[in-house]
Amino acid sequence: NSIIGDNYRWPHTIPYVLEDSLDMNAKGVILNAFERYRLKTCIDFKPWSGEANYISVFKESGCWSSVGNRHVGKQQLSIGDNCDRIATVQHEFLHALGFWHEQSRADRDDYVTIVWDRILSGREHNFNIYDDSVSDSLNVPYDYTSVMHYSKTAFQNGTEPTIVTRISDFEDVIGQRMDFSDYDLLKLNRLYNCSSSLSFMDSCDFELDNICGMIQSSGDSADWQRVSQVLGGPENDHSNMGQCKDSGFFMHFNTSSGNAGATAMLESRILYPKRGFQCLEFYLYNSGGESDHVKIYTREYTAAHPEGVLTLRREINEIPTGSWQLYYVTLQVTEKFRVAFEGLKGPGSSSGGLSIDDINLSETRCPHHIWHIQNFTQLLGSQNVYSPPFYSPEGYAYQIYLNLNSLTNVGIYFHLISGANDDQLQWPCPWQQATMTLLDQNPDIRQRMSNQRSITTDPTMTDDNGSYFWDRPSKVGVVASFPNGTQFSRGRGYGTSAFITHERMKSREFIKGDDVYILLTVEDISYLNSTSNVPDPVPTSTIYNACSEVECQNGGICTVHEGRAECKCPAGEDWWYMGQRCEKRGSTHDTIVIAVSSTVTVFAVMLIITIVSVYCTRRKYRKKASSNPALDAQNQHAF
C-alpha cells in the first residue's frame, strides 16, 4: 500500500511550513506529531529554507493530503477544524510520504469484506483496491491496527458496518487513531531504508542476559542482581507482570542485608546524544526500608575528562512501597555519556530492596507531570475522577477530569483552577497548550501506541454567558474542595467525551498492574502565533541549499562548492569511496591488481613487439643472403 516509484519519495528530512491559517492548537499538535516520527522512524522535519519541494501545512476545509512527493514545489496538506489530533496528523503525513489506506491494498479481500450496499451512494469508489503493479505492501502482513485503516463505519449509509473483518476479533480494532502501529513503522522504515531514528537512544527490559550492555560500577559496596522475583517483593517484573514463564527479569539491589549507607551502582553503556536534551524513564519498586532511595547520575566523557565526570541529576526519596512506580528524569547532556542508577540503603530495617525495570532513554521532552491512577479497573464504568492539582511552568494551576462512568467512551477535560500565582499571571490565560497522554505501558517506547489529546487556551474564547472561557477561575469558576477539605475555584473544563473507548482502554497495556498513567504537559505556545515567530527562516533564493536535493551515498558528506553540491566521500586505511555520489568503492587491493595487471600488460606488449621485430629482422637478412650467396661465404669467415 505504498505508491510504487522512487520519484514519490521525499528526502529523509522533509522541509515544511506551518502556515498562519492553522489554528494554534493544530500547530502544536503537528510539532508533537513530528516528534513521534523522530522517535520511531528516520524521518525528520525542518523548517523550509528554500528547497525545491516542501510541505505547506495549512488550514482549509477538512483533513487531507496528496500521496507521495509530487514535486510541485509547495505541496499542501490541510489540517482543518477538528483535524488537530496527533494521529490524524500522522495519518496525513503518511499519505504525503507515499502511503495509501490499508484496506486499499491488493490482497485486502483476504482479510476484510466490504459490504457494498451499506456504503453511502456515490462513495463506493473509496473502497477501490490498488493492484500490486502500482501499490507495494512492502512484504508486511495486512495490518488491522494500522493508523491508515478505515474504521468499520467508514462511509456507512446507516448504522451497519461497511467493513467486516474476516477475523471478528479485529472488528473494533480497525480504524484506530492513536499512533503508528508496529507494522506502520515497519513499512515506513522499509520504504525509506531507516536503520536508526533521530531521538531514540535506548530501551531495556532486562530480558537478555547482557542487560543491554549495562555495567556494575566499581567502588560501590554491592551489585545490582538480575532476578525474576524477590522474596520481599516484587513477585514479578514490570515488563511482563509475570505473565511469561521463565522470563520477566529486572535488576534488584538487596538492602535486607548490609549496613546503612551501602550502595550499588548500575551504569548504562556509553550513549551518544544528538539533540542535547534527553528524557529518562523507568519503573522502580521499593520493598526495602522507607529511607532506601535511588540517585540518578550521568557520567560524561570529554577530551579533558576521558575517565568521565559523574553528575547527580536526580535523587528519588520516599519511594512508595509495594508496587511498581513510574519515574521521569530530564537530562541535558551534549557529550557522550552513561546513565547511572545508584541504590542506597537507608537506616532502618528492610525485608527486600530496590528494583528497577523497563528503562527508556530518548532525546525527547519529558512530560511535566504524571497522574498515577491505581485500582483503575474498579473505576472504569463507575466513577469520575479528578487529578491532584498541578502547576504549569508558567505558574498556572490546573486539574484533569476523567469521565469514566459513561457506557462506551472515556472523556477527558482540562480545568484551570485557582492557584498561588494567580495575581501575577495573565488572564484570560493566553495560548497554553495542555497535552494529555494516556500512556501505553509497553516496555519499549518505540512500540507504544499511547493515546493523546491536546487543547489550547485561546484567550479570546468566550463562554455561552459571554465571559472569557479561560479567565481567572476565581472569577468564572465554581467552588470545589480537595479531598483534604481545602477549597479552591475550578474553571470550566475543556476537552472531549470521546478520548478513548472502553474497549480500547482495556486493550494494549494502558492498564497494567491495575495502574493507569496520564502524562501531562502544559506549555506556552504563543511563539507559534505567527509565522514570523515560528522558527522558519524566510526563504530567499540566496540561501538556497544545494545539498538539500543531493543524497550522498555510503556516508558521503555533501558540501557546497561554488554553489554546486559536491559529495566528500569517506576513506579508510585501505579503501575509499568515489564517484559523484560516492557510489563507487575503491581499495588498495584494487590498485595493486591494476598495477600488476598493467605491468603484465606492458610486459606482454613489449615482448610481442620484440618478437615481431626479431622475426622481421631475421626475415630481412635471410632474404638478403639468399639474393647474394658470395657475400654470404666471405661473411662467414669474418665472424
Binding site: V67, R177, Y401, N403
Partner: protein, 40 residues
C-alpha cells in the same frame, strides 16, 4: 455536577477523518486524498 461544567470539543461524537470531511461535503479520493496537482 462536574460532568456539566465542561465544554466537549467533540460534542459527544467520535468522528474520524472521513466523517469530518464528509460532514464538510468534501468528496475527496478515498475520503482524504487530494489528487489534482498543486502549483508552485
Amino acid at each position: 455536577a462536574p460532568g456539566e461544567f465542561v465544554k466537549d470539543i467533540d460534542e459527544g461524537l467520535d468522528r474520524d477523518i472521513f466523517d469530518i470531511n464528509e460532514d464538510l461535503g468534501l468528496d475527496l479520493f478515498e475520503g482524504d486524498i487530494k489528487l489534482e496537482e498543486q502549483g508552485k
